[in-house]
Symmetry: D3
Subunit: 323 residues, 6 copies
C-alpha cells in the first residue's frame, strides 16, 4: 500500500512514495546542464516532477511506464504543486499493488461475486443454470471478472467496475420483473450476467485502463458470444433455440447498430436487458460526475452523453417554509 | 352494451346489432338497380355489408360516421364473411356506449385511478404533493384521464390506456428506486404522473383515436407544461426551482430531439423517467402484438420500432430431456 | 424436371405440370357453389388458377405450401393468363427437384467449388491453409455452400449464389493484389472465402429464400465467427493474433455500423475485403436488373441501392459517323 | 463610462481603467516571491496582466468575477501586450456601466422599441393587438427586451441584440408579404414579435452572456409559450384557435426537431416565420464575422454554420475595363 | 382547345373530346368476346373507359401514349363515372394543344417574361447585365423558359411554372434587399434568374412532366453551370472572380449536400438566394395543396415536406364578438 | 537542391540551408533586448529557431511566407532540437526548387505521364480517344497534372500525387475488368483519367497545398465537368449521350451526396469508378500512415477515415512452430 497519494500532496511536503512514470523528457538549462521533466501518477491523479541534479545518472535507471520510488519535496510553480526530486529509482512491478494505481470500486469484489452467484443460482431453467455454473467453474474467468473495469471512461471506469455494474443490473432486473407478467426472468438474468463479460478481454487494466487489440478489433459483444458458444458446447443437451436466445441478448444489448450491435433487440428480454443496462450505467455515471466547478449545481460535461447534468433536489428548496 | 360484435359474426348468422358506418358507397347493378356497399365497425373489427333492396330509401337515412342499427344475415363472399342487410337505421349517439366502439383497457379505470392517487399521496415534499392534489381536484382532468388512450398506435392504444401506462410507470418507479441511493423519488413520481397528461388534450377518442388540432400543432409535452404552469400558479409559495425541475422532466421525457423533446434530459430524474417510460411502453406494445401469422413465433411488424419480435421462452424448450 | 414453366404458359395452352401452392382461398359463386382461387409458382414466376368444379373435393387434398400436379387449360381473364383447373393433386416433396422452384446460378456448383478450392490451396501461410482445409473437410458445410443463395434479394439471390459470389470475389482479389505491394494476399483470400460463409445458416432455401430464426437473431457475421472459432480450436498451434486478424475481417466486412458490422475495418486487408465484396455484389446486381419497361435504357428500381441504373454503352452511339 | 478599452491599449501606455477579472492565479517566482497572473476584460476584448509587487496584499482585495480599477503600464511580452500592474482595487458593481463590459447593439434600444411598437400597433385583429399591448404594458418584460442579447454566440450576440433582430424581422415580414397574396400578416407580425421573447429569461447578461438554469433546462421556446399562455388568459374572449396558431408559431420556429422545435411548422405563417427568422439571423452573423486574417477575402470560421464565408463583390472586379 | 375536360364529365353525359391514352388493356368477357379497358387523361384528371363493341377493330388504330378522339357516353360503375366508348380514333400530335394535357400557370408566359427582363435590365454591373442579355438573345432558351415546369411534383409543377417561380423570386429579392445594407443586389438578381434555368433541360414536358436522361444523370445545377460557362466564354473581358461568384450561387442553391448541392452557400448572396428560393417554392406549394378531405382545415400530405398543413386564419375566428 | 533538410538536423550540428518562414514573432527578453522566434519548414518537416542577436536588424529583412537562407547551430531546448540563428536573409523565390518545400511522389512524373498516355491510347472508341488526345494536347493542363497533389491531407497529399493516383487507378481498372463481362472499359478508362482532373485547379501548391478560391466555391467535380464540356465542344460529332455518360461519371464519383456528389452513380461504370477510386486512395493512405508511436502495431489516427489501423501480417506470426 502506498504511503502518500498524489491528491494529498501539499506545498512544501516531503514526498517518499511509489508512482507510475507517465512521461519522461530530458531538457537542458540555459546553463547547459541536463534536467528531467516527469509526469507521475497514481490512482488519485497526476503530478509534474523535476529532477534538477544528477539528471542523466538518475534518468538512466528508469523509463516511461515504469513504477518508481520517488523522494523529494513538493513546491509551487506557476500556481501548481510539483515535486522537486532528490532521488528516483525503478521498482519491480511485482512489488506494486495494482489498486494503488488504478481507481477501484468502493465495494469488495469477493462480496459482490458471492452476491452475484447467489442470485444466479436462483435460475430455475436447468440449462441456463448449468451455463452460469460453467462460468463460475472457470477460475481464470472469475479472477478477471473480479478485477475488470466497466469501461475506459463512460461508466464504472475502475477496477471491479464490471462486477459492480453486473451485480447492480441483476438486482435491478429482479425488481423490474415484479412489475410485469410474462417476462422470462431466467433468460433475463443470464443475459444480465453475460452481457458485458467479454469486457474482461476487451480491456487491459494493469497500469491504465485501455483497449486490448482484440477489444479494438472484435469488441466484447463478439468475444462473449464465442465464450458462451464454448461453454454451451461443453454442456450436454443444451437446447439450440435456448442458446440462440442467450446469444441474441448479448449481440443486441447495445440496442442499435450505431452503438455496435449488429442486430436490434428482437425479443422482449433483449429489449429489457438493453434498457436496464443502459439505465444502470447512466445512473452510476451521472452520480459520479464531478461538479463543473466547485459549488456549481452543474456537473462537468460528459462527452459520451453529450451534456452536463443539473443536480436536482426537491428537498433542499428555497426555504419558503414548508420543506 | 352491444349484442353482437364483428369478430363473433359467423357465416349464415342472423345479425341485429349496432355499428359505426366507416364508409358508404352507392353502386348500380348491371340490371340498373341501386345498391349500397358499407363498411361497418365496432371495437372488435370491421366487416363489409351490402344493401341490395330499397338501397336508395335506406341510404337516405344515414351517413358515414353515423351509428346505425343493422338487421340482416351473414354470408360468405370471396372467402370473407359479409352482411347482407335487410334493414338499417340511424341511432342517436347518446344511446351508444363508447367502449363498444373503441378498444379499452382490461383494467377498471376507477380502480386504477384510486391506486394511482394512493401512490402519489405518499409524496413527502409538500409542494409536489400539493401539485398532485391540485390535479386530483380538477374533475374535468380526472374524467379525461380515466378515458384517454396512451397513443394512437404505438403503445396502450385504447381507452384508459394513458391511465394504465401511468400507473404501471409509477409502480415501476417505486421498484427501481429501491436499487439505488440518491434518487429523488418525489420528483420522479410527480414526473411519472404528469409526463403524458397532456395526451388528454392531444387525442380525440369519441369514435376513433385521432390527433386533435392542438395535439398536432403543439403536442402533449407543451400542453402539459402549460397545465402544470397554471396549477403551480395557484399554489402558494411553490419554489421556482422546483417548478423548473418538474417542467424539465416533462419537456425532456422523449429523450432526444428527434423524438420531439426540445431539451435532452439533464437531471438524473429526467434521465430515469425517460428510460422507464420508454421501457414500460415497449413491454406493453411487444406483449400485445399479434402473431405474424397463426402459430408463428414472430409477431407482426411494429412500424414505430421498425421490427418484428421473436417470442422467447426458456421454459418450453425442445424436449431434449432436462426441462 | 418440370415439363412446363409458368413463364412459358400461353392462352389456350393445355397445362400438366408441377407447381408450389403459394395461396389457396375458397369462394362461393352467386349461384351458391364453391370454387377455389390459387396462386401457383415455380422458379420462373407466379400464375393465378381457379378450380370451378369439384372444388371442395379437390381442395381437401392439398394445402398452401404443398407441391401439386395441376391439369387444366390456360385462359385469358381481365387481360391476364390464368389456369382453369380440371384436376389438382398433392405431390410428395421428395419427388421435386428444388431447382425447378427456386432460381439457381448459371454456373455448375461442383465446378465452382473445385475452382475455389484450387485458389485457396495456393495459400502459403500453413495456419490459414489448415483453416481452409478444415472447412473443405466438413462435408455438411460444403454441401450447404454449394446450395446457399447469396442473399434474399440484394445480390446473387439464387441457389449457389453464395458460391458464385465467393469465387468471383477470390478471383477479383487475385487481380487487385497485382496492382499493389504490401497486401497480405493469404489473409485476404481466407477473408474472401469466409466472409459470407455464415449465410449457409442465415438463409433457408428449400421452397423460398428466407431468413432462418438464427439468421434474423444473430446474422451471418456472428455465426461465421463462431464457425471459425470452432475450426481454429481444432488446429494445433494456430497463432492467436492470426485468428484475431481473420475474425476481424469477418466482423467488419459490411464496412459500417449501419450495415451491421460491429467494428469498422481496421486493417488494410479488412478495408480491401469490404470494398471488393461490395463491388462484386453490386456488379452482379446491376447487370441482372430487369429493364424498367421493355426497351427502356433504365433498369427497374433497386430498393437496397435506392436507385435505377442507366445502361451505358460507348460502342452503340448515335450513328454520327465514326463508331 | 470607461476611460480606456482593452482594444486600445498600446505598448508602453499608462493604464488607469476599470476591468472585469476573468481569471486570477497566484504563482511563485524562482526567487520565492509571490506574483499574480490575471485576465482582465471589457467589451472590447481580453488582456493579460501581472502583479509582481505586493501580490499577496493586493490579491486579498478582489476575486475572480469582481470589477476592479487597475493602474499600471502596458508592456510587450512574447509578442503580446500585457499590463504590469502597480495597483488594483475592487469596485462596487453599482458603479459600473454594463455596456462597458458587454458588447451592445449599434442602435438605440428606446428608438428600436418605439419603432417595433409602431409596427405592431398596425395589427388589425383585435385579439392579437390586445396580446401585443398586454406585452407592452408589462414593464419588466419591456425592460428586459431592451437589454437582452440575441444569442450567446450565433447571431446578434450583444446587448439589445434581441430587440434589434426582432425589429429587423418585423420590417422584413412587412416587405415579404407584399410579394404574396393570402398570407395572414397579423399572425406573422405577432409571431415575429414573440418568437424569441423567451430569450429574456434564457440568458443572463450582467457580466457575460450565458444561459440561465431555466434557459438550459426549458429553453426559450417553452418559456415564451408559458408567457403567452398567461397573457392570453388575462384577455377576455381570446379565441382558442387563434391562441393555438400563435403558440404553434413559437413552438415550431426553429424549423426542425434537431434544432429544438418539438413540432415542424405546419401553417403557412409558421413556415414563413421560420424561414425569415433564420435568414435575418444569418445576414447579421455573416456581415459581422471578422476576416480570417487581415486582408483575406474569407471570414473566420462560423462554428454553428460550419463554414467560412467569401466576401463577394460584383462591383470591385478585376479592373478589366468595363466596371 | 378541348371541348370537354375529364373533371367536368357527369353521369349520362354524351362525350366527344380529345384525350391521351394512359393505359390500354384487352380483356375477354365470359361470353368470349373481346373488350378494351382504357385510362384516358387530360390536364384536369383521369377517367376509365371501356370499349365493348368492335374492340379488336378499334384497338388496332391506337396505342398507349397516343392522343385520341373519343365518342361515347358517361355511365356510373361501382360508384365511379366511366366512359362507354362508341368510337375512338388516333389524332395526330400536331393537332393537339399541349396545355390541354398538362396543367399550366395561371399567368401568361409572355407577360411574365417581359416583367422578368425588365427587372434584370436594372442590373448595373455591365458584365452581369451582358450575361442576362446573352440569355435573352438565345431564342431556344427563351422558348423553353416560357414552357418549362418548376418541378415534377414539389412546387410549381405545371407549364410555365419555372418562369412563374423565377419571376416571383426576383420580385421577392427586390423587396428583401430593401431591409439590409451591403447585399450585392446585382449578383443576387442574376443568381435568382439562373438558379433553376437548367430545369429547361432537366424535364421533358410534352405529354407529362418527367425527368430527361440528362436531368437524372447530371441534374439542373450542373447543366446550368455549363450553360453559364458557355455564355460567359462569349462575353469579352468577363472577370474570372465574378464568373466564380455566379457559378457558386448556382452550385450551392440547394443549400446542403443532402439536397444535391456539392458545395454549401459560402457567400452572403448565395445564402440569401438559397433561403428565398426555398421560401418562394414552399409558399406556392402550400397555398396550392388540396384539402385533406372536403371541408377539412388540413391539406393533403406533402410528401417532400413530410407533413400536412393547417389553414390558419386570424380573421375568421370563433365568433366571439370582436373580429 | 537544398543541402540539409529539417528531418536530418541533429543536436550541435552547424546549419546552412534554405527554409520557408512559417511564422515569425518578436519578443523581448527580461533584460529588455529583442529576439525573434521563427518556425522554419521544408518538405521534411518543421523546426523552431531563435535569433538572439541583431534580431531587429535581421528581422527587417524578411517576412512570414518568405524563403530564407539560415546559418546557425542546432541546440537542444526542452527536449527538442531548435536552431540558434547567426544569420538569416531573404532568398528570391525564383531560386527555389518547389519540391524542396513540398513532399513529392516517389515516382517520376514524366515516366508516369508516359505510362498513363500509353494506357489511354488503347481506348477503341474514337470519340473517347479524341477526348483523351485533346487533353494531352493541352500543355498547361499536362504541366499542372504532373505537379498537382492528390489531396490536401486525405490521400496522395504530395506533389505529383494526383498523377500517381490516376495512373494507379487506370492500372487497377485494367485488372478488374478482366474479372467481368459487360463492363465498358473505354468509358471506365476515360472516367478514371478525368475523375479528379479538376484538382489541378482546386489546389494551390506553390508553398503549401491549399484550396484555391474556386476549389472552395465550386470544387473539382464541377470544374472538371466544365473542362470536359469545353474539350468536347471542340471535337466534331461527339455523340451527346456519350458526353452525358462521361460527365455523369465525374459528377457522381464521390458516390454519395454527403461526400459532395450531386448525383449517385447510376451507370455500372460510374459505380465501379467510385468504388475503385475510393479503394486506391485508401490503400495509399493506410500504407503511408505513420505509427501511433514508435514500434506500435497501430497507426496514427486518420481523421477523414475516423480510425487508426492495425498492421496485419500473416507471415510474421508468433513463432509457435509451424510458420
Amino acid at each position: 500500500m502506498k504511503s502518500l497519494f498524489v491528491a494529498d500532496i501539499r506545498e512544501n511536503q516531503l514526498v517518499d512514495s511509489l508512482f507510475l512514470v507517465a512521461s519522461k523528457n530530458r531538457g537542458v538549462t540555459k546553463g547547459g546542464s541536463s534536467y528531467l521533466t516527469l509526469k507521475l501518477l497514481d490512482r488519485s491523479g497526476e503530478i509534474e516532477a523535476r529532477v534538477w541534479e544528477r539528471a542523466d545518472d538518475l534518468g538512466r535507471g528508469f523509463e516511461r511506464n515504469d513504477f518508481v520510488r520517488v523522494r523529494g519535496q513538493a513546491t509551487l510553480y506557476q500556481g501548481k504543486v510539483q515535486i522537486r526530486i532528490q532521488d528516483v529509482m525503478r521498482i519491480d512491478e511485482g512489488k506494486i499493488a495494482a489498486e494503488d494505481f488504478l481507481p477501484k470500486s468502493a465495494s469488495n469484489p469477493e462480496t459482490m461475486l458471492d452476491e452475484l452467484q447467489a442470485i444466479l443460482r436462483g435460475i430455475k431453467n436447468p440449462h441456463l443454470l448449468a451455463l452460469a455454473e460453467a462460468c463460475f467453474a472457470d477460475p481464470e474467468l472469475m479472477r478477471l471478472l473480479k478485477q475488470a473495469p466497466g469501461a475506459k471512461t463512460i461508466h464504472h471506469p475502475y477496477l471491479s467496475g464490471l462486477l459492480e455494474h453486473t451485480l447492480s443490473l441483476l438486482k435491478l432486473i429482479l425488481k423490474v420483473v415484479e412489475n410485469y407478467r410474462g417476462i422470462d426472468v431466467d433468460l433475463l438474468l443470464i443475459g444480465g450476467f453475460l452481457h458485458d463479460i467479454g469486457k474482461v478481454y476487451e480491456f487491459s487494466f494493469d497500469r491504465a485502463i485501455d483497449y486490448t487489440d482484440e477489444g479494438q478489433l472484435l469488441g466484447h459483444l463478439v468475444m462473449e458470444v464465442e465464450l458462451v458458444d464454448r461453454k454451451i458446447a461443453a454442456i450436454a443437451d443444451f437446447p439450440a433455440e435456448l442458446a440462440l436466445l442467450v446469444k441474441h441478448m448479448l449481440v443486441s444489448h447495445h440496442g442499435a447498430c450505431e452503438f455496435g450491435s449488429p442486430k436490434l433487440p428482437q425479443t422482449l428480454e433483449a429489449v429489457i436487458l438493453h434498457s436496464l443496462d443502459d439505465l444502470d450505467g447512466k445512473i452510476q455515471a451521472i452520480q459520479n460526475l464531478p461538479e463543473k466547478e466547485p459549488g456549481s449545481k452543474w456537473t462537468a460535461f460528459h462527452r459520451a452523453y453529450g451534456r452536463s447534468f443539473f443536480k436536482a433536489n426537491s428537498q433542499c428548496d428555497d426555504g419558503s417554509g414548508s420543506a
